[in-house]
């Protein structure tokens, strides 16, 4: 199909195309990348959070001489107010304190604590400063509310005395994590949203396949009064802008008591005029002999439809099904207007409404976006040829 074969031009063109595709794909890549980050963004990477450094110089450390009569006396503590699931390790510099047992632990905002012995992480043979690194999973996160850790503390394990030296307390951030997805799906509403989107999209797709076939068959093969007028009406209805119907739809659903129910989202979308148009064109191209043979054999029209036409129309039906599925999954306007509660919302609506209380939580927002986008992307990549074929055939007639 080339106009002029020219190796150099081809390289330039390939480069240009790759650039364009890079531009289209970068935002999506950004979304996925951010969704698995615990902290920070593509542009502002946070690899660690400093809990306490007690002053810049190495001598600016925390030095606490102590004499305690019981276990569990606090020697040092610091408020951190963090979600500990985001971090992989707790690190600090330490100088052994004396002959007493030392424990380190965390306390959550409701007061529950979990402490572990420091001895497992210290080389007792070294008497000077050493680097200590504790994996956060060792800290007993399951016994506290890991999402709301208020303090880190160092306490005595047994009565005794000594001097505690500690410096440069740091929490290291996990490079990748699925906590955003977990938060949003399991403890957040997105699991429900996903279910709603899936249920509604599947029902609408199935409905369209059946009902649009019925209507298209009538237009393709039958004669009846008003046929041309009605077909014109179908085409005209594609042109009605949804905004004109926004308000009366809301009012209608309210009067039917269908607001915030699945009915409101499914029923109006069960028969899309565009699909009728597409299927009619396709059915018209089918050879009539199979149908006529079946009719002669005594089949009624319904049997012809379901046993002959529909199986023969599989390519067109595939296009109808896939496009309808993708369209209904992504649709925003009516699910937004017609639903009110978490139980009934779909993914795009839930995503639009998702904002956290304190600051814009990009990582969670991107995880929620990814959940909304992934199914459609997967379906698209799997059925790419069909989708594009469907588009082009529709357009060439238009």
């Amino acid at each position: 199909m080339a106009i002029k074969e020219n190796a150099n031009t081809n390289y330039v063109i390939t480069a240009a195309l790759l650039l364009v595709v890079a531009i289209t794909l970068t935002p999506l890549f950004l979304m996925f990348y951010t969704s698995v980050k615990a902290e920070g963004t593509l542009t502002k990477s946070v690899s660690e959070i400093v809990v306490a450094d007690f002053g810049r110089e190495n001598d600016g450390c925390m030095r606490v001489p102590f004499t305690v009569n019981a276990a569990g006396s606090v020697l040092w503590e610091e408020r951190i107010n963090q979600d500990l699931r985001k971090f992989s390790r707790l690190e600090f510099r330490y100088k052994p304190a004396g002959s007493t047992d030392i424990k380190i632990g965390i306390t959550d905002t409701l007061g529950k604590s979990s402490f572990i012995n420091l001895s497992g992480y210290i080389d007792a043979g070294v008497k000077d400063w050493q680097d200590v690194s504790i994996p956060t999973k060792d800290l007993g996160l399951k016994s506290v509310d890991a999402r709301n850790i208020e303090k880190i503390a160092i306490v005595s394990g047994a009565p005794g005395s000594g001097t505690l030296y500690i410096d440069d307390v740091i929490l290291k951030v996990k490079p990748v994590t699925i906590i955003n997805y977990v938060d949003v799906l399991v403890s957040g509403p997105f699991g429900r949203y996903f279910f709603n989107s899936a249920l509604i999209s599947l029902l609408i797709t199935f409905g369209n396949i059946i009902f649009c076939s019925m209507v298209a068959y009538a237009f393709a093969r039958k004669e009846f009064p008003g046929k041309d007028a009605l077909f014109l009406l179908i085409i005209a209805s594609i042109m009605i802008p949804p905004q004109v119907l926004m308000i009366p739809m809301f009012s209608l659903m309210k009067n039917l008591h269908w607001l915030n129910t699945y009915w409101a989202l499914i029923i109006p979308a069960l028969v899309e005029p565009f699909n009728i148009f597409l299927l009619r064109q396709y059915i018209k191209t089918l050879p009539k002999d199979v149908e006529e043979a079946a009719l002669i054999d005594g089949a009624n029209e319904w049997q012809v439809l379901f046993k002959v036409i529909i199986p023969l129309s599989r390519p067109a039906l595939a296009i109808v099904g896939i496009n309808t599925f993708m369209g209904s999954w992504n649709t925003f306007l009516y699910p937004f207007l017609l639903t009110n509660t978490t139980e009934m919302r779909t993914l795009p609506v839930g995503l639009a409404l998702y904002k956290s209380l304190y600051s814009v939580d990009w990582t969670h927002l991107m995880a929620a976006s990814s959940i909304t986008a992934i199914p459609v992307i997967v379906v698209f990549l799997a059925f790419q040829k069909h989708i594009i074929a469907g588009l082009t055939s529709g357009a060439l007639k238009g």
Binding site: P27, T34, V186, T341, K355, T392
Partner: protein
């Protein structure tokens, strides 16, 4: 294989989702709130459930941005929550429309134990109770004070000091600001500014609430003061300023107690202090701050109002309020005796907030307060973002507020023309039905040769479409036409006939003109670009290049992605620390340190009145051109190879081939693309809704967003329907013009 993978991934997600969906319980009381964290509320509700085993409580947490919308639509839908939290500035709209339950008898006895009854008091009756209160105090960064040569233990107490300190801190260098002024969202500009006006003795409304008192020397003085701070301040949404303050880039901010939680979370090492808000002079005025808060109300619609009141009283017990306060650390209790709670002794910063609460002032109660506060915010933004002089914005706000007060005064009773309207509609419909029936009979007569049975059978096949189209297409269409000639209040469901008044009001509304202009600008700005880029890419792909499928897939992925997902990603990219600004920094760096070859917008892409709409347009081009590329490709592929070869033999150049072979072939497709693209650009809504809510200063309001605001924020359904029809006519007209132009071009070319 690909399909199997698709199915597996799908099932995995589905399984996770169904598990969450399986936990369903039958709810008795629905409680909606915005302020308290899930965990602490659930534990309070668990205690309530233990004491009241016959009552089931279902809690839903709303987000601030759309909470108001959701509550409004739920009332209109008839499934409002039983117990609900309302922000103090929202209560007005609901109380004056009569949708809240009078709870005077339940709470008059304990009135003195609580602060902040003003927002729920109307005609000496109580329509709710105060739950959590909040105010704003001055935060200051002690490190920055030291660096600027200021005493970190001596925060500014007067306006002069605030200005001087801001100047000194601003001098500290790049990226550091002295103060923070909030813009780009509806509530925060006036919440920051009005306390300055109040502490200077100014008022918004006259004592009888009939006149605007905004045009007064004290008010203008306060405006001038804010204006003077402009040059030494960070201008951004409050969230962004809060973040910058936490990161040590802003010296002082006047903001709420939530920062006491957020700052230690983001920067545990920040050395900051909290003080009372500065006042005009040491011997004049009070340190007045903005008093806000959350109130609990019972909706009149509730079928379980006694149980709801029970829950309300439980939540308002002092110890339960303190549980929320202690867990959140960003709110204050409404219970007066909590001042003695040892918690406040341990939390000196919280105590400053409680002190500030004593001289805090609440917005005046007025049914149109939401519209009035919009005008004040707008005045602040015009002065700060567009550099209008203070006296001008004040006079503008004064005029607009008086206009709003006029409107609310004459909002009289709804007339009883409803019956006449219904009669007219009924007659019209009967006439239509008779007409259609006779047409049908005539058609059937002409086709007498066709047995009735066959026609009926055909119609049976058509029935799904007929029914759905009639009920969900034709009927709403007619209904909306009728509604556009009427006055219909969403909250009260009352209806009256007003003729063409809605259309006239819309057509002369300057906000509608702006929205229309934005929409046209949007279409004209995106359609040519999208078409050109799509054509260009299609031409490139059309050559014998490898990986064709890769390009098709890559270009098409944005098209299949939900609009809302795209809006989220681009909000991220356009944010001040986002990808775009970082890229610009890198490009600037190539030209040497400190170079500003491309300048970044201040404050940010989506907050600049001139750049917000183009930013959204760029996003729409990005997300749609792949679709049109595929269409062009289809057209290009229908040109047979021989045509190219023949013309090459005849000596045609590439440009010649393009002009005489390709273009004519593509004309029908190009027409299709331009028409579809234009229609879609005229219908832009979800992007605006998710990214900018029509702002800043209405610069991204498109016609459909204007329609939405008219119907669901101002509750004027009739006018909103009129807008829908006007839009429909505009689109049809534009499409016809486009068709004519293309046909014209065809005849010539």
């Amino acid at each position: 294989m690909k399909r199997l993978l698709a199915i597996l991934v799908f099932t995995a997600f589905f399984a996770a989702g169904s598990r969450a969906a399986a936990k369903e319980e039958k709810a008795v009381i629905n409680f909606w709130q915005l302020s308290a964290k899930e965990e602490v509320m659930q534990s309070i509700l668990d205690d309530f459930r233990k004491e009241n085993p016959d009552i089931e409580v279902k809690m839903q947490i709303l987000a601030w941005d759309f909470g108001f919308d959701k509550i409004v639509t739920s009332i209109a839908a008839g499934n409002a929550p039983d117990l609900c939290e309302l922000g103090s500035t929202w209560v007005n709209a609901f109380a004056t429309n009569g949708v809240l339950t009078d709870v005077t008898d339940d709470f008059s006895g304990v009135k003195d134990e609580y602060l902040f009854w003003e927002p729920v008091t109307y005609n000496d009756r109580l329509y709710g109770a105060p739950w959590l209160v909040g105010t704003r105090a001055l935060f200051y960064n002690k490190d920055l004070f030291r660096k600027a040569g200021l005493d970190p233990e001596d925060p500014p107490e007067t306006w002069n000091e605030l200005l001087e300190y801001s100047k000194k801190i601003e001098k500290l260098g790049t990226g550091v600001h002295g103060f923070g002024i909030y813009v780009g969202e509806p509530y925060t500009p006036w919440q920051l500014f009005l306390p300055f006006a109040w502490s200077n003795g100014a008022e918004v409304l006259s004592p009888d609430s009939r006149e605007s008192m905004v045009d007064s020397p004290e008010f203008i003085e306060a405006m001038k003061f804010l204006n003077s701070l402009k040059g030494y301040s960070m201008l951004d949404r409050q969230e962004q300023v809060n973040q910058a303050f936490a990161q040590g880039r802003v010296g002082m901010q006047i903001s709420g107690a939530w920062n006491l939680l957020a700052i230690p979370h983001d920067s545990p090492n920040l050395d900051f202090g909290v003080a009372l808000v500065p006042r005009p002079y040491l011997n004049k005025g009070q340190p007045v701050s903005f008093a806000g808060g959350e109130l609990l109300v019972v909706m009149k619609q509730s079928k379980h109002s006694r149980e709801a009141v029970k829950l309300m009283k439980f939540l308002l017990k002092e110890e339960n309020i303190m549980r929320v306060v202690k867990a959140q650390r960003n709110v204050l209790p409404s219970t007066k005796k909590s001042v003695k709670d040892p918690y406040f002794r341990e939390q000196p910063k919280q105590r400053v907030f409680f002190e500030q609460m004593m001289t805090a002032k609440a917005a005046p109660g007025h049914r149109a307060w939401q519209k009035i506060e919009e005008e004040i915010s707008r005045a602040v933004e015009e002065m700060v973002l567009l550099d209008y002089p203070p006296s001008k914005v004040v006079k503008g706000a004064d005029a607009k507020i008086n206009a709003i007060l006029e409107q609310t005064k004459s909002k009289g009773e709804l007339s009883d023309k409803t019956v006449i309207a219904i009669f007219a509609i009924a007659i019209f419909l009967i006439g239509l039905t008779v007409y259609l029936w006779r047409k049908l009979m005539r058609a059937l007569e002409f086709r007498k040769r066709m047995p009735l049975k066959k026609a009926v059978s055909a119609y049976l096949f058509l029935s799904p479409w007929l029914i759905i189209f009639a009920v969900f297409g034709l009927f709403p269409l007619l209904h909306s036409m009728i509604m556009s000639f009427s006055d219909y209040n969403l909250l009260q469901s009352k209806f009256s006939f007003v003729g063409f008044r809605n259309y006239l009001n819309v057509l002369i509304d300057p906000n509608f003109h702006k929205a229309l202009w934005h929409t046209v600008f949007f279409a004209v700005g995106t359609v040519p670009f999208t078409t050109a880029i799509a054509l260009f890419c299609a031409l490139m792909i059309n050559r014998k290049v490898p990986f064709k499928q890769l390009y098709q897939a890559g270009l098409f992925l944005p098209v299949v992605t939900s609009v809302i997902v795209i809006a989220s990603i681009f909000s991220y990219i356009y944010s001040p620390d986002g990808l775009l600004n970082i890229a610009i920094d890198k490009v600037n760096a190539i030209f040497g340190p400190g170079a500003q070859v491309i300048s970044k917008p201040d404050p940010s892409w989506l907050l600049d009145t001139k750049l917000a709409l183009p930013s959204i347009m760029a996003m729409c081009v990005w997300s749609s051109f792949g679709y049109y590329t595929i269409l062009f490709l289809a057209g290009l592929q229908s040109i047979p190879d021989e045509t190219y070869e023949a013309s090459a033999i005849d000596g045609a150049t590439w440009w010649g081939q393009f002009r005489y072979i390709i273009l004519p072939q593509l004309k029908p497709i190009m027409l299709f693309i331009v028409v579809i693209n234009s229609i879609r650009s005229f219908q832009v809504f979800p992007e605006v809704f998710a990214m900018t809510q029509g702002g800043p200063l209405g610069s991204t309001t498109t016609v459909v967003y204007y329609l939405y605001e008219m119907g669901f924020h101002k509750f004027e359904m009739g006018a909103a329907s009129a807008v829908g029809y006007i839009l429909f006519l505009v689109i049809m007209g534009m499409t016809l013009i486009q068709l004519k132009i293309f046909k014209f071009g065809e005849n010539i070319g």
